[in-house]
């Protein structure tokens, strides 16, 4: 038996495989294909204070082993989310990590205040790194000071109970310094990586293909970037739990991110190609852990960092 359970701060999950925010809506769509209770948690699509239309179409372009999206945080707003989407997930006995996104430090704090009183939430993901906003200046996670201020505001509003996970962007020069900053400000964990800012030009129109011009690259194409980011941050902050994501589409990929230092692995773009992908990946991960002599996921977290001298080849 492999113990798949994992923790993020004081939150416990039976599996390290989650949905990735923005890749499962609020769970209803996937429920026809997977039992939401069998996965670690549903990380809901980042929700803002008000309902939001998002960006114009086209919103998507497939690229080799990847895709670029430009959704722009379309969503129902926090009040409708808490009134309809969250209670449905709770009624299904799914564990829930709510993801929030704001345009100002104050908006994040307001969202945190509303989430604080809602029952059934395991953790709060604070998405400070969505690339699909009108003003790139709003990507808080590209600015160490802005990142800290957002997390500080959320921490003060939320109190100490619900774990806060800060979602970071790989599009920075020094990811470790951003990570240290948000941890100092009160983040209990880190989610990395968000999509990579990118562009496709349409050869028929000879203009940027996406309505929003730029988008976020996801899928297997970015997996090595995720592995590097997780490895670097885990090395610098070995006691901070990491939700590691970026192009995971098999058990092999999930194990790679866990070895780099991820305690949880959200599945995003792979669910677009196969709505049952999370379950398949979970089953593959169990076999791969067994084959390597691990008896728990916890033993494998960060195993790629072990000193050379200790590398006797059984865990």
């Amino acid at each position: 038996m492999i113990d798949l359970s994992t923790t993020l701060g004081n939150a416990w999950f039976p599996s390290p495989l989650f949905t990735a925010s923005g890749c499962a809506s609020s769970g209803k769509e996937l429920a026809q294909f997977i039992d939401l209770r069998e996965i670690g948690a549903v990380v809901t699509k980042s929700v803002m204070s008000k309902p939001r239309h998002g960006r114009p179409t086209p919103r998507m372009a497939e690229t080799p082993s990847g895709m670029i999206n430009s959704i722009g945080l379309q969503g129902p707003g926090i009040d409708a989310f808490l009134a309809h989407d969250l209670p449905w997930l709770v009624s299904q006995k799914a564990r829930v990590i709510v993801s929030i996104a704001g345009e100002t430090v104050e908006e994040y704090a307001t969202l945190a205040r509303k989430v604080r009183s809602a029952p059934g939430i395991s953790a709060l993901e604070v998405n400070i790194s969505c690339p699909n906003v009108e003003n790139r200046g709003l990507v808080f996670a590209c600015d160490p000071d802005a990142s800290r201020r957002v997390i500080d505001g959320v921490r003060k509003t939320l109190g100490g109970e619900l774990p806060i996970i800060a979602k970071l962007s790989p599009d920075v020069t020094d990811l470790v310094s951003i990570a240290k900053g948000v941890v100092d400000a009160g983040a209990d964990g880190l989610a990395l990586i968000n999509t990579v800012l990118s562009m496709v030009i349409n050869l028929d129109t000879m203009r940027p293909h996406l309505g929003g011009k730029t988008g976020g690259l996801s899928g297997p194409a970015i997996r090595p970037i995720a592995v590097r980011a997780i490895y670097q941050v885990h090395e610098a902050l070995p006691n901070i739990p990491i939700l590691g994501m970026g192009g995971v589409s098999s058990g092999r990929d999930a194990l790679e991110l866990i070895l780099a230092g991820a305690k949880g692995v959200p599945i995003g773009t792979a669910s677009f190609g196969d709505p049952a992908a999370i379950i398949t990946i979970q089953n593959e991960l169990i076999e791969l852990l067994k084959a390597r002599g691990f008896t728990s996921v916890a033993q494998a977290v960060g195993y790629a960092h072990r000193p050379i001298a200790e590398s006797s080849e059984t865990p």
Binding site: E29, Q32, H53, G54, T57, M60, E62, A270, G273, D274
Partner: protein
């Protein structure tokens, strides 16, 4: 359990046949009992390129027709134009190949409870789902006229057997290479003025659907159209295939063409805002 995608399943379907018909491929898939859940207008999402493909997203295809009585049990027919890498791969699949399919997905054309005079309008490869629809309408005692249009004759898909389920089949091409020269939308105002149409069912390029919606506006004719926006997932989780739709209160929201469509009431779509962003929510 949610009601979204409620009758859909992911499974492997066997290719029963794959025939070239002009510029198109007519692909028959054995889908067993699932055929009973498939309605005209529904679509399928197919994994393309094999296990090691760099194409990570499924491709959506309208179900053209289904059959419960064929020699292979339940089967569904797809009409595929081998234009992109994904559709080329599908068109290269031979009899006996196993295809990873999610079906059925999306909304279906509404079928009237009483016989009506139905006009089915297809643009380019958009005619595919209209043949199955025509069979269902005909079996309900409807008069079924089908008008197909394309830029040129080679892009018209109109198989012989399709003609059996319609009263009138007319073809329009912009270059005059097949049927009448002109656009398929041109005769519609006259048909409406003469009171010859109760319901229009359409499928094809968005500008055609918009043109039909504008012609129908102000008349009593109901217009059900199957929209197309590029999709990443087909099951409602990616939010890429949205278009602006008016609700009963006149508020516009971005609806997913995979689960709120592809069949929509043409009068509900805010056509002038497709590809744009509606004003911010107040």
């Amino acid at each position: 359990m949610s009601t979204i995608n409620k009758s859909s399943e992911k499974f492997y379907a066997t290719v029963v046949s794959n025939k070239r018909v002009g510029q198109y491929h007519q692909i028959l898939l054995n889908v067993g009992q699932l055929v009973n859940n498939c309605k005209p207008g529904n679509f399928v999402a197919i994994k393309v390129g094999g296990d090691n493909a760099k194409m990570i997203l499924r491709r959506a295809f309208a179900i053209s027709r289904v059959s419960t009585t064929g020699p292979y049990g339940g089967s569904m027919e797809l009409i595929v134009a081998p234009f992109g890498q994904g559709s080329k791969w599908l068109c290269s699949q031979i009899e006996g190949a196993e295809i990873d399919v999610i079906a059925p997905l999306g909304t279906a054309f509404g079928i009237p409870t009483e016989p009506v005079r139905a006009l089915l309008i297809g643009g380019g490869y958009g005619s595919a789902p209209l043949f199955g629809l025509a069979e269902v309408l005909k079996s309900r005692g409807c008069r079924v006229d089908m008008y197909l249009g394309a830029s040129t004759g080679g892009k018209i898909y109109a198989p012989m057997e399709g003609k059996r389920s319609v009263n009138v089949l007319k073809i329009y091409t912009e270059d005059g290479s097949m049927g009448e020269r002109g656009r398929v939308t041109e005769p519609i105002p006259g048909l409406i003025a003469d009171g010859l149409v109760d319901v229009i069912y359409s499928c094809g390029p968005m500008p055609m659907l918009r043109a039909i919606s504008e012609i129908v506006a102000g008349s009593d004719v109901v217009h059900q159209c199957a929209v197309e926006e590029s999709m990443a997932c087909g099951v409602g989780i990616c939010m890429t295939c949205v278009l602006p739709v008016n609700d009963a209160e006149g508020n516009i929201s971005m609806k997913r063409s995979c689960i709120d469509g592809p069949v929509m009431d043409g009068s509900h779509v805010a056509w002038d805002l497709v590809g744009k962003i509606p004003e911010a929510h107040s």
